[in-house]
Point group: C2
């Protein structure tokens, strides 16, 4: 296998020179020619990527960037601040004392300095470490977002990826219901800005725990929460069977009554307040959140759903999942909740907060299947044709005037190799293939002569235009 | 070490309940209280990151994002398209048959499926693999950019990072000088847009190779190019000594004459054309590029510098480095060149191209030291004070009207705990600390009553304003 010229054995090079040029004198030419024509005996390395990983070609990457920009603009409009953390961290930091399921999925190895390191598998654990480390430098309440890739060696058969992007946003250092509401509103508004009308299903873990306590099964709350979390997936009967194994049949029935449907937000709140032993700080908080929803005219986006529990153990207050109204079956595209002690692994200071995470890949899949994404192949709708390659400097100057006016403009680099009149036709086809709408055919003097503007779709030319005419026409 | 409540042994939990509440009945309250007050015997995991890696707190991350947005806007204005590739790839793909220096620096390990994998150490190798893999799907010439992190286990003592961001842009599938010029112009314009006036030092490897061939030392061109590449760092004398070891004293002297100063662009071009044996395709290309520079009025940004060689072996045509005119000593902030066979490791099809890479970290360091960056602590210059926490919904509605007008607006979440008149003062201080310019003090009914707008810096209040008044005033 040969990659670089100097890796080719000298004897072979000389042999090649002689065969191609009759003399070993043309090394500088031979080098190029050699690499073009030399086919080594050994096979090439097959260009492929790891299973569960993805390349993004321009149309897919443009779609992703368009969405991420809208998401980020929404986060910023709420005054949230960006942070970033390393992709690679000490395994101990990411895994704590040993992570069970997580440990099996994580990319963990020894680096060249024999350190036990791992790729982050979410953005929550690095954020917890971050908060413990920089607490003194941050102004609390701290509102941050973090958009970055994470890695999990998950079974890819379930259609999951091993590298994917998360968009996390959290408020830490505030116990106020106003913080809960802000996160809920951001979820709603951000997804709406992307074209998704959502239903956010909300519950309160603390209220559910009160109920479980009253039922005398509080000690088993983790198993119960995890089982109820599967309700939508495994169905009522299977959930009842699993719950009965944990709590006995009677309690299982009562739990399913609690998590069942009770009507409107207000009716549901009244029902679960009663089931959990009457008014409490938790039911009070849900009441305040309901008032906030009504005061902001967003109540239609929220449901109180006592079956939402979230599997993750660190949630202690409200929890929520977000479904697209037009395609709830795809599952939650944005979930989260309130936690009491995010950084407890790294610091004795308890820092509470509330946050949420958008799963970009699932969201893209959903918006795509709903036809909400308008894929585009290019950022530049305007292209300048190449009449003479030696005029590249003038074409770039012309293009620069459009760019300065805020219009992305691509310059074609080659005159398509002929002067038989077909060179322009070839460039029109190339421009259309690139996803452009317009092509400019410059004159002999690209900067002084009138321009011709062609609309590619309908093949109409407008001739004799000034630069300003063109800008007016395409803006 | 305890992280989650359910990890605490039950005996300990019960002990805690009894100590704090006298009865194990308040599990749902106790859970929260427990995590707040429980100090385990074992020590916490120290929150720290790996050497050579960095966290970015909001001010630094905002600066990075501001720069990246400008860079990306510039790339897009030229019609360049984004792609993305996995952070993790087969080691064989990234390293080829074994990479010498690279191998020592790379993060390489076996994944859970026992695959030999590695983190990418640049964006060029993945791009080569990408081109070989998707050649049939891409429209050539293909203009792409890729902004992403790369990882190298380099010695951090030299002030290098082990995780850093690269911004690569390339045109593949065109041998035209117009492609060379477009990359050169993009470098210049992009860096100018960031506030850096640059000098791009340009050379042609092919012309240099012609000269070396004439000198009879072409076979040693790789070592010679690498040695000349160190010229600026190690000085004339040391370079002469090292070259003499490779080529003998006489040739070393002639090489240093070639790489030395010859005057203007035109004078230098004439000198190296003569030294390399007269007019050639390579000297002709440099002439065309000079014409493009003059035609586009950008000639002041370019120098012909025969000492520029770039260490990397795959360059075959023009090569260049970019220096900030106000601080050339910081080194090149954007470098690259033309190559004949990018994807030769993965495909028999030779794909030529030309490209460049911005080193974001060095660029930020340079712009910072030149005072060209205006650090800001926040995206939201406008903040809404919190008079009553239960009005969070109304405050968010008010904020939503500013956000809809394109004005990022943060809502304070807590009334700062007192009604002694100092609660507002505390919020003014908080808003200033957050980097805001303005704070709105809403009335009893935030959506109907007149608003007070306070400019934080000069502590001036404007009272009795409508929403429109506020927008007019701060826009």
């Amino acid at each position: 296998m040969v990659r670089f010229y100097h890796e080719i054995p000298q004897a072979l090079r000389l042999d090649f020179y002689v065969r191609h040029h009759g003399s070993p004198d043309y090394t500088h030419i031979a080098k190029t020619t050699f690499l073009r024509h030399y086919k080594p005996m050994a096979s090439y390395i097959e260009p492929k990527i790891l299973k569960g990983f993805r390349d993004f070609l321009p149309p897919a990457e443009i779609t992703r960037r368009d969405l991420l920009e809208k998401i980020e603009a929404s986060f910023r409009s709420f005054g949230f601040l960006p942070i970033d953390t390393p992709a690679l961290e000490y395994a101990e930091i990411l895994l704590g004392k040993g992570g069970g399921e997580t440990e099996k999925q994580i990319y963990r190895f020894k680096d060249n300095g024999d350190r036990d390191v791992a790729l982050r598998f979410d953005l929550t654990v690095p954020f917890a470490r971050f908060i413990a480390q920089y607490r003194g430098e941050l102004t609390l309440p701290f509102k941050r977002y973090h958009i970055a890739k994470v890695w999990r060696g998950e079974n890819t058969q379930r259609g999951r990826y091993r590298e994917f992007t998360q968009c996390d946003f959290d408020i830490v250092g505030s116990d106020s219901p106003a913080a809960d509401f802000e996160i809920l509103l951001m979820m709603r508004n951000t997804l709406k800005a992307l074209g998704g009308d959502v239903s956010i299903r909300l519950n309160h873990r603390g209220l559910f725990n009160r109920f479980l306590n009253k039922l005398g099964v509080a000690e088993k709350s983790v198993e119960i929460l995890r089982t109820v979390d599967k309700l939508a997936k495994i169905g009522q009967d299977e959930t009842r069977r699993l719950l009965a194994e944990i709590t006995g049949e009677e309690a299982a029935g009562k739990i399913l009554q609690y998590t069942g449907s009770h009507g409107t937000f207000e009716e549901t709140l009244a029902a679960i307040t009663a089931l959990s032993g009457g008014e409490s700080a938790e039911s009070q908080r849900l009441k305040i959140l309901r008032k906030d929803m009504i005061d902001s005219g967003t109540e239609a986006s929220f449901e109180l759903d006592p079956s939402i529990t979230r599997g993750l153990d660190y949630y202690t207050g409200i929890v929520y999942e977000t479904f697209l109204k037009e395609d709830p079956a795809i599952g939650s595209v944005c979930s989260g909740g309130r936690y009491d002690n995010l950084a407890g692994l790294y610091s004795k200071d308890a820092i509470s907060g509330v946050g949420s995470s958008i799963g970009l890949d699932r969201l893209i899949a959903a918006l795509e299947s709903l036809g909400k994404l308008k894929p585009r192949g290019s950022y530049a709708e305007l292209i300048i044709a190449c009449i003479k390659e030696e005029d590249a400097g003038a074409y770039q100057t012309l293009a620069g005037k459009f760019r300065a006016a805020g219009i992305p403009c691509e310059v074609l680099l080659e005159a398509a190799g002929s002067t038989d009149g077909k060179q322009l036709t070839k460039q029109f086809m190339l421009a259309e293939k690139k996803g452009a709408r317009w092509i400019i055919i410059p004159g002999e003097n690209p900067l002084k002569d009138p321009l011709t503007l062609r609309e590619l779709k309908n093949r109409q030319n407008r001739e004799g235009l000034t630069l300003e005419n063109v800008i007016d026409h395409i803006s």
